[in-house]
């Protein structure tokens, strides 16, 4: 068919692979920091050195020291484990709850579908941060509870995606083609439906991990996360905030670390997404 559509495809090849490579490397680096913080840290994260407090960034203290003279860079490195893990756990909670809801809606018949859709309508009406705050008010503060709260707040997004995707795949012509070939429902679900639903969920989860890390830091900024002196990025932000007028680096660098994590997982998620669209 001839169409006069002036459609320019984004250039493929090296240029479009760059974000994937950078994102992948960055995520690998983050994983390494997470697993082996002592390889990267230059100082102990919890050793006070009051004489050396509020030192600006220098060769000895790459990102300066805080109000107790602790090395900001080393605290960032050790804080990564908690901050990123909370985000990851929250995402797992959201994906598991959301998939259960979404599959129930897609497979449970008309009424289950209506019930789940209306439930998520209501659920989505609450801003994520506020919903997480409500959950914390009910189950109490702390690192684990923060992860659960964020996961609960993110659940409806995964639920909607899984439901929509499952229905689309179930009604797709290729699932019908399997039926025409005489292939049974269980085999069709395993061979066609699950893998094709899983792809987009992985993409959303990798993008969602970024916002979960941000939300976790936000909640611990409010003093609801892990207790000091445990190094954690949100808590470091909160502490540094009081000294913003004199020592900006204490609060600014933890935030920059969060941004770096978000950018890395987003780049990777987008790369996976564009690959799956091809």
């Amino acid at each position: 068919m001839t169409t006069l559509l002036v459609h320019r495809r984004p250039a493929r090849g090296a240029a479009s692979r760059l974000p994937a490579v950078v994102g992948g490397l960055a995520v690998a680096l983050i994983a390494a920091v997470l697993l082996f913080p002592s390889w990267f840290a230059t100082h102990s994260p919890e050793t006070n050195d009051v004489l050396n407090a509020f030192a600006p960034p220098s060769a000895d203290h790459l990102l300066g020291t805080d109000q107790l003279g602790r090395d900001v860079f080393s605290r960032l490195v050790h804080g990564a484990r908690l901050s990123v893990t909370i985000g990851l756990v929250a995402t797992v909670v959201g994906v598991v709850l959301g998939s259960a809801l979404g599959l129930a809606a897609a497979a449970g018949g008309k009424w289950a579908d209506v019930a789940v859709m209306r439930l998520t309508d209501v659920w989505l009406a609450f801003p994520e941060v506020l919903l997480a705050l409500l959950v914390i008010a009910l189950i109490g503060p702390g690192a684990a509870n923060v992860a659960v709260a964020i996961g609960v707040a993110a659940t409806p997004y995964y639920g909607r995606l899984v439901r929509g995707q499952a229905l689309a795949v179930a009604r797709s012509e290729y699932v019908e083609a399997a039926r025409v070939l005489g292939i049974g429902p269980v085999r069709t679900a395993l061979r066609h439906v699950l893998p094709n639903v899983g792809g987009p969920v992985v993409v959303l989860a990798s993008l969602g991990t970024g916002s979960a890390v941000v939300a976790a830091a936000g909640l611990s900024l409010l003093g609801l996360g892990p207790l000091p002196p445990t190094p954690e990025w949100g808590a470091m932000l909160a502490e540094g905030q009081s000294y913003l007028s004199t020592a900006w680096w204490i609060a600014v660098f933890p935030g920059a670390a969060i941004v770096a994590v978000v950018l890395a997982v987003t780049a990777l998620g987008r790369a996976v997404q564009s690959r799956s669209l091809r």
Binding site: A125, L131, I139, A217, L222, L237, W248, A251, V259
Partner: protein, 309 residues
């Protein structure tokens, strides 16, 4: 007209669902509510628990409590704070204003910036578009609370252009509103540019160019309108989330508002206050998304279902 009515009914239904869901959540995790009123020190005093439970009506059957809750909401009664003992509405009344002012300013700024950015860069060369979308991707990744901290250290402590805290006058609104608005502007501009580019590739755009239309006119007469549809949806959603984001930004800028009350309430597990704020945010979301829904048919005639062929 019927569609307006239907939208209002749907909005009320969502709100009712929100109230019910929060009530159920509190009831199911129950138990600790009386404890949060008493506090840990007085927990051992005999008979105190029962007395407090009766005082707050927590000894009644759940159905009665639920009916009482709904009835109270209809008359504007949000219940009483466990922590301070006073009415929730009394606690919140003064704080709603500053938060809504911040959220509204940020919403208008964010949407305005996004449209400006997208329109200014649409139809430009590849390099301009690339740079703009890289900038947007970066901005989107910035958490508002950290953006607030950076803005504070540069413009308040560094350049001393704006006050560092408080809520006195418009100058104090600039930095917090920007901290909230920039990431939103990034998201909206991203979506809008994508939509503009999709619309520019559609066959109708070719028809328009073949009539002699220039790129700028094409944007103003055709594609902008197409890009507005998804942006309207997203704007409604972001305005809803703004109320949530405002809580954190208020904390960073030490502004009065719902944020301060809410954080206190969460720390003391003061559920009546928390549910009231959360429900209020849901109300804002329901209202904005209803407005967006009513706006669609104005933009897109295909959605005016009443009109036949």
């Amino acid at each position: 007209m019927r569609s307006v009515l239907r939208r209002v009914v749907a909005g009320v239904a969502v709100l009712w669902g929100a109230v019910t869901l929060t009530f159920l959540a509190v009831a199911l995790t129950g138990g600790n509510q009386v404890d949060s009123v008493i506090g840990p020190d007085a927990a051992s005093v005999p008979g105190l628990r029962e007395q407090v439970a009766a005082q707050y009506g927590l000894d009644r059957p759940l159905v009665v409590q639920y009916a009482d809750r709904l009835g109270g909401l209809l008359t504007g009664d949000l219940g009483r704070s466990y922590q301070r003992g006073q009415s929730v509405w009394g606690l919140l009344a003064d704080q709603v204003g500053p938060t809504l002012a911040l959220a509204a300013t940020a919403a208008v700024t964010g949407v305005g910036l996004a449209v400006l950015l997208a329109v200014a860069t649409a139809g430009r060369g590849r390099a301009v578009r690339r740079a703009a979308s890289a900038l947007e991707a970066l901005i989107v990744a910035l958490p508002p609370f950290w953006l607030g901290i950076v803005l504070l250290s540069v413009f308040s402590f560094g350049l001393r252009w704006f006050p560092a805290f408080g809520a006195d006058g418009p100058a104090s609104l600039v930095l917090p509103a920007l901290a909230l608005a920039l990431p939103i502007a990034g998201v909206l501009a991203q979506v809008m540019r994508q939509e503009l580019e999709v619309a520019e590739g559609r066959p109708f755009a070719l028809s328009a160019r073949a009539r002699g239309l220039g790129e700028r006119q094409l944007l103003l007469r055709h594609t902008l309108r197409h890009a507005l549809l998804p942006v309207t949806t997203l704007s409604a959603w972001t305005v809803g989330t703004l109320v949530g984001g405002a809580v954190l930004v208020e904390q960073v800028f030490s502004r009065p508002g719902l944020g301060r009350v809410l954080v206190e309430a969460v720390k003391h597990r003061d559920t009546p206050v928390v549910t009231a704020v959360v429900t209020l945010a849901a109300l804002v979301f329901v209202v904005t998304s209803a407005l967006a829904d009513l706006l669609y048919p104005v933009i897109d005639a295909r959605l005016r279902t009443e009109e036949g062929r």
